[in-house]
Symmetry: C2
Subunit: 330 residues, 2 copies
């Protein structure tokens, strides 16, 4: 849940006057998006989402995120589309913060995804990878291999407060990943945060994807690994191979994985698990006083990391490569 | 801001199947209402508010609140109207909590009310008092004179943490109010919590009133005093007599105040200030671990109490009784 910036009436009316979306009907802070303040905005022209970007999002990255949404929406991805001001600008300042209005998407996120949901998540992830292939701007992934050691440095001293031995485990994993991280795999724009909250469904059909504020350039197969971690584990933290198979089948039906990408899934899944373990650990140990956010339990991703450490080949994720390659040829 | 209860997909769909409002489009937790979890619900039939009643609201009171909204809406008050299930029931259980669906109201609450807003708040308050006069169910005000000493007992020992001398000040005020609280004034159903967040405007015209979960039977003029405290003080906690006059003029234009009601305004305003000082003090000293709520500063209402302690006659609130009585006759 986000913080809610207080928007003064006069500021809001002046802001809306810069758009061609008519008069204000309602503005309600909504519990959507962790990093920013989001409001459901109702005007003469219908429903929109107004986002105020809080300090964790760098202003210089916003044109990348907004441009990507525009690019993907124009290519048939059902994602929020930035609404331009009369001036043509998509980004302004409201209540002292960078702010934008995007289109509203119907749909609800699922709490307990089924394999049917997972398959569609795989499909839309591949569709986004393909649609983003000709998006020219670049944004390196600050939360990939090179970004993890400095993040770890900021919470290493207190890591064992979460679980004894965690500091040593992470240090060893960072070293191992440094030696085994794949090179030369296909890369491009990835969503990098396609968690359940960021995918909407209507009557069990995927209806939209939101929250592109971690999108960046990185390995496509790393995005698949992020999704497997987000969608294919149960509330008791156990792995569900049926869901993983569905997700991988959905993905490869749209964008076949190369052999090297497939073989790298265990390493990439370990890396993805470590990435979210580190950010959750950091947030867990650094809850600011008066915070409105209940941090996620970092041990959820520690359990995923341990699971992937026990995987020796990608077939354990439920998809046989020969069969997958066969599907790709059809 | 409320807590957000996690609603499972299957629960939600089973719940909606009990209503005649079509299929689910979206459900978004909204930052509205302090005591309950509120969601903006979008279905084939349009927008609604789904409320899950959290533990601070007594289930046995809910028929009173929902019945009152139904009663007032039927008499032209623009307030949320409970949506009945196919069975005719207005109250059910969802995610283990009492739950109801009410109609959605357009409008935005104002952060910085003008006298024009205050006048309309006075008008709608009087309109609610008149419309509720024939509402038969009764609910005593648990947060009136008799309810304050036990509330004070639970935070007296630590009151001076907020301001030295506060404990003695409150004890003396309770004693004084006990001796001066008016008897025999006109009473009926009051809103009892008509703060800025609970009144919507569209283009500076009052468009709706929400949050009836403190409504009860008590003195009408006490409701006026609550509104004066909520609407007629500035962000620096100073009193704005122009706003108070506008609020009182708006009220008396619809429902004239009797002489005894008018004369009691200073005492009732002290009582109202003490009531919110006490609940804020209690919440301030008892923030639960992991709370999603930032408590209000109790000293805001201490300042109001001190202001009203200095008032010797109701004319200080900006409305001359002779003039008011004259208006009432026209």
């Amino acid at each position: 849940m986000a913080v809610y910036t207080d928007i003064r009436d006069d500021e809001l009316h002046a802001w809306l006057a810069r758009y061609d979306i008519g008069g204000l009907h309602a503005l309600k802070g909504i519990a959507e998006g962790v990093e920013n303040s989001n409001y459901l905005l109702s005007t003469d022209a219908g429903l929109f989402i107004l986002t105020l970007y809080e300090k964790r999002v760098a202003r210089e990255d916003l044109p990348f995120f907004l441009g990507l949404m525009e690019h993907l929406a124009a290519r048939g991805i059902n994602c929020p589309r930035p609404v331009p001001m009369r001036s043509g600008e998509m980004l302004g300042t409201l209540a002292g913060r960078p702010a934008a209005i995007v289109t509203y998407l119907d749909g609800v996120s699922v709490r307990r995804p089924t394999p049917r949901h997972c398959r569609q998540v795989g499909e839309v992830l591949a569709a986004m990878h393909l649609a983003g292939a000709d998006f020219a701007p670049r944004r390196p992934n600050a939360l990939s291999l090179a970004g993890w050691p400095p993040l770890f440095d900021r919470c290493a001293a207190r890591a064992d407060e979460v679980e004894p031995g965690l500091r040593d485990l992470i240090a060893a994993e960072l070293a191992w990943l440094g030696r085994h991280w794949p090179v030369g795999l296909p890369a491009g724009v990835i969503h990098a945060d396609l968690f359940r909250d960021n995918v909407f469904f209507l009557k069990d059909r995927l209806s939209g994807v939101i929250d592109f504020y971690f999108a960046c350039n990185d390995l496509y197969a790393y995005d698949v690994a992020i999704c497997m971690n987000a969608w294919c584990f149960e509330p008791d933290w156990s792995f569900n191979v049926t869901k993983a198979r569905a997700l991988l089948e959905g993905y490869t039906a749209r964008r076949p994985l190369g052999r090297a990408e497939y073989d790298a899934l265990p390493v990439l899944s370990r890396g993805s698990a470590l990435r979210f373990l580190l950010t959750r650990l950091h947030d867990w140990l650094n809850v600011p006083p008066g915070a409105l956010v209940v941090p996620h339990d970092p041990r959820e991703y520690l359990a995923r990391l341990r699971f992937h450490q026990g995987i020796t080949e990608a077939g354990a994720y439920g998809l046989d490569y020969a069969a997958e390659a066969g599907m790709a040829r059809t």
